[in-house]
Symmetry: C2
Subunit: 166 residues, 2 copies
């Protein structure tokens, strides 16, 4: 059985999932795995969280793609087991980075195109506003980069990204 606090955490994490752009099931599974000292298997996940095996299977796969959980093997057992990525700071930002690349960067690009090519009058309110907005984006960009520290995009990170392109 699961404690009050464990359930609360799992459900809250589930709701918060949207912040990272992951759905409820995925986020709940992620929370559940984080809360387990021992590696957990698909059967347990599906049973404890009351979701289908199919859903559990796909969600685990995607969580693995995001790099926030890992598959491990236990000798003498042929089931797959899962554990959470231990580096929490990195874990949180892995998702944020990907989302930034996918959604924020194109918007910043569109904004720069607009400023460069749309022939807005330099003195106009729209120009000023868009220029300010571009500065805001750049500022946000810098904050993001700073928050990520000096961690550079690794090969893995790029692969991950490509895997998620539409």
């Amino acid at each position: 059985m699961m404690s009050e606090e464990h359930s609360l955490f799992i459900e809250t994490w589930g709701s918060m999932g949207v912040l990272w752009g992951i759905n409820r099931s995925m986020a709940r599974i992620h929370a559940f795995i984080m809360l387990n000292e021992k590696p957990v298997d698909l059967e347990t996940v599906a049973g404890e969280l009351d979701i289908s095996r199919g859903n559990a299977s796909m969600s685990l796969k995607e969580l693995r793609n995001w790099g926030v959980i890992h598959r491990v093997h236990i000798s003498g057992d042929r089931r797959d087991f899962y554990v959470a990525e231990p580096d929490t700071w990195r874990m949180l930002f892995k998702i944020a980075i990907v989302r930034k690349e996918r959604e924020f960067n194109p918007a910043m690009q569109a904004l720069r195109d607009l400023l460069a090519n749309a022939g807005l009058e330099k003195g106009s309110g729209v120009y000023t506003r868009m220029n300010d907005l571009e500065k805001s984006f750049s500022k946000f960009d810098r904050i993001m980069k700073k928050a990520l520290g000096n961690e550079r995009k690794s090969r893995m990170m790029l692969d991950l990204l490509n895997g998620f392109r539409d």
Copy 2:
């Protein structure tokens, strides 16, 4: 007619809307209003973006609730007109703050409850991980606050927040 760059910006902004937790229509309307030197009316919004008046009406209302656009009046005209909030940096963070309060803070609270009351063993991996996670959340919290500068929650901001509570 609308330029290539304008359309691109509108659609990109629409896609990025999910980052702020606002839907495509709302985000597109927001972009459209930002791109207009002159105040725009509902009719124009619905026509140019090809959405129903009903949708436009509701979206404009919500955008106004978020505080990212404002309603203005033009004397001699009885239609309602809309303009974008001119302070872009503030505009972007208005939404981010509300979302943080709504989704991030409860998760941080659940995490703290878990650490305080779930009776996790101090030495265990789960405890360490959850403790690290709490530190990460606090760090993120600090970054957020820093990004917002020394701007304090104004009365208006609190009203806004309350308006959005479930």
